[in-house]
């Protein structure tokens, strides 16, 4: 990390900064550029329309990126496990719905582009109030309090009709006629670009936050909260401010949710969405800033694509979560980072062969597992829905023994083979790291 900054005159400095930004942050800038053009891949030139499915999915990815990153401000950066993070997304969403309705009726002519800021402030306000209690404790007690807050707010959402609208939620209409750019926001693609803008701003701000005194002390309290006290910091206040700011960003995500779906219901504050934050963040990787971004993209893709194909997408998400927690606690980002020293030493190629040898047995296991899950699913839910299990025009009957036997053979055979292959891979990995260590010693 280059902490020091050499002063070489203002223009040179400015140019250096711009160049440095491009050099250091190119993955982010490339992602942003991709986000800007990706809806056009699904543009239908004959009808002149974007695919509604794709735009909706991309919008959701943007919202969930902010949500997961804000969750990681607690989990990864401050070491706080929250089970109630959706509360701040939801409350930000409700706040936004009311503000958009007020804008529509003309009482509060706020441009639609700025309503996410209002949602963020809503999330911040509630995070200040609820965080006051939650951050009194850390570790398990903190987790329990956030679980309680989640349940509390969910039941409030059904009780207080004026703010939460009861079970029906609060509907809104984003076409308020107030826009900074004169946009109507009728087509979802316009909302998508608004989401891209706010996601970029939020990601940048959250990244910068990690480099501030508060961000660093959050890390310090995570590593050793007692020591933090003896350098003059009250860990409780560190938790409190971190919690409040995390609520702010969750609120922005909630506002964008409201603008996308034009309705907010109690689902947005409920436990399932909080669990989703945990899932995305953990699968992506808590130890790396960009980890939750990867997790958010993956989980939304799973949710959108796999739920089209299968009733059991949650099973797959759950199994993925368990596998990650067990075998790769650093998440996907952590897995990638593990390869960094090998890549630096220019020996990544040495792992290509061992990796290739994993592919076939892993595929066998995956296919066998999916087959078992789908057979179960078609035997129960599928049957109730009157669906039949078709695989490239071949209908599979889950009440016959054949497919079950095939699945068992795939799972068992693939499993044994995979175990063997993993052993070989482990040995290859150890050899390469040993070599790097040895050359490091010599140098």
């Amino acid at each position: 990390m280059s902490e020091g900054l050499v002063r070489t005159g203002a223009p040179a400095l400015a140019a250096g900064r711009a160049g440095g930004l491009l050099r250091r942050q190119w993955p982010w800038l490339a992602t942003l550029a991709f986000a800007l053009i990706v809806p056009w891949f699904s543009f239908d030139w004959t009808t002149g329309r974007h695919s509604g499915f794709i735009v909706s999915m991309l919008s959701q990815i943007g919202i969930m990126i902010i949500f997961a990153l804000s969750y990681n401000m607690l989990m990864g950066q401050a070491g706080l496990l929250s089970f109630g993070h959706a509360v701040f997304l939801g409350l930000g969403g409700y706040t936004t719905a009311h503000v958009v309705n007020a804008a529509k009726s003309g009482t509060l002519p706020i441009p639609l582009e700025l309503t996410p800021l209002v949602g963020g402030l809503g999330g911040l306000a509630f995070a200040l109030a609820l965080g006051y209690f939650a951050t009194k404790q850390r570790a398990t007690a903190f987790a329990m309090i956030t679980l309680g807050i989640g349940e509390l707010v969910t039941s409030c959402a059904l009780m207080f009709q004026t703010f939460f609208g009861g079970e029906g939620g609060v509907s809104t209409n984003r076409m308020t006629g107030h826009s900074l750019f004169g946009l109507g926001y009728a087509p979802p693609i316009q909302v998508y670009y608004l989401i891209v803008g706010w996601t970029a701003i939020s990601v940048a701000l959250m990244l910068l936050l990690t480099r501030t005194p508060l961000g660093r002390m959050a890390n310090a309290c995570r590593d050793n909260f007692e020591r933090a006290q003896f350098v003059g910091y009250d860990p409780r206040m560190v938790r409190f401010f971190q919690f409040a700011l995390s609520g702010f960003f969750a609120g922005i995500a909630g506002a964008l949710y409201t603008l996308t779906y034009e309705i907010v219901t109690y689902d947005t504050v409920a436990g399932a969405l909080s669990a989703n934050a945990l899932l995305m963040t953990y699968i992506g990787g808590v130890g790396v800033f960009a980890g939750p971004v990867v997790g958010a993209v993956l989980i939304v893709l799973l949710q959108s694509w796999v739920s089209l194909l299968s009733n059991s997408w949650l099973v797959y998400a759950g199994v993925l979560f368990i596998l990650m927690v067990t075998f790769a606690p650093g998440g996907l980002a952590g897995l990638v980072l593990m390869h960094q020293p090998i890549w630096r030493a220019g020996r990544l190629g040495r792992l290509a062969g061992p990796y290739l040898r994993l592919v076939v047995p892993a595929l066998l296991v995956v296919v066998g597992f999916v087959l078992v899950i789908e057979l179960c699913s078609f035997l129960t839910i599928g049957a109730a829905q009157g669906k039949s299990f078709t695989l490239s025009h071949v209908t599979i009957d889950p009440r016959t023994a054949g497919p079950w036997a095939a699945a068992a053979v795939l799972l068992a055979g693939g499993g044994v083979w995979l175990r063997y292959a993993i052993g070989g891979f482990g040995a290859a990995w150890a050899r390469v790291t040993e070599e790097i260590k040895a050359t490091g010693m010599r140098a």
């Binding site: 902490e3 900054l5 006290q229 350098v231």
Partner: protein, 250 residues
């Protein structure tokens, strides 16, 4: 008589029914180097925990520069200029050595809970952290995660974090524990250098370190002070020899 930086008066501490400190009164002169010695279980570390606010006192008062500090939380005491190290190394393991030191500097430099300063741009702060880093001879390990340092390096980092905040009263809990002779000698030189002009209280088992560094030695046995005075006096004190130095038969 010079002013006491730290004044401990009739301090008692019990854990449940078990008394650990049964009445300790001690004045530490400003600018002196004060060693607390005593057999295992005498209550030395407990006394440190009471002074630094880690545990509340059961009875008695503790004053820092004439102001009561007993009953205050640790961060308040630290902000008033009393800083401590730990017997079992206590650092921020996943952060780099440089960041560990910088965390020690933040509060005293007025950054508080700021989320609007970008640390990379705070030149004076970073420079100060780098100076401290060279003070404790860890420049070459600057960007290594603290958890990966060797034991002696971690002890040096521990001292670095402790002195970073510019405290004028410093409590070091067994700074040379577990070190080889050479490492301990380095540590003593380091402690001597960085505590110049400050008040130092340290718990130490290594007698050569104690007699080398301390102006005053206090002997704590079973939660009570049995002797306190210049090293030469303590060395020849009969009660101390019997109770602690293990030459009771002589």
């Amino acid at each position: 008589m010079t002013a006491a930086a730290l004044r401990i008066a009739d301090v008692q501490k019990s854990f449940g029914p078990t008394p650990v400190i049964t009445g300790v009164s001690l004045d530490v002169t400003a600018g002196s180097r004060h060693a607390i010695i005593g057999p295992n279980g005498a209550g030395k570390t407990t006394l440190f925990n009471l002074i630094s606010g880690r545990f509340p006192v059961t009875a008695g008062t503790i004053e820092l520069h004439g102001r009561r500090i007993d009953g205050l939380p640790p961060h308040e005491i630290t902000r008033r200029g009393l800083s401590r190290s730990f017997q079992v190394t206590s650092i921020f393991a996943r952060m780099t050595v440089f960041e560990n030191i910088r965390c020690g500097l933040l509060w005293s430099r007025g950054y508080r809970y700021s989320f609007w300063h970008l640390l990379a741009r705070e030149r004076e702060l970073n420079q100060a952290a780098d100076w401290l880093l060279s003070d404790v001879n860890l420049e070459s390990r600057r960007d290594v995660p603290a958890g990966l340092l060797s034991y002696a390096e971690q002890r040096a980092l521990e001292i670095g974090i402790t002195i970073a905040g510019g405290a004028d009263t410093i409590l070091l809990d067994e700074p040379t524990a577990g070190m080889s002779r050479t490492e301990a000698d380095h540590a003593v030189a380091l402690i001597r250098r960085i505590t110049a002009g400050k008040t130092l209280v340290m718990v130490e088992h290594d007698m050569s370190v104690v007699f080398d560094l301390a102006d005053v030695v206090t002997v704590l046995v079973y939660g009570q002070i049995i002797a306190s005075g210049p090293p030469g006096e303590i060395r020849t004190n009969r009660a101390v020899q019997e109770a602690y130095l293990g030459v009771g038969a002589a």
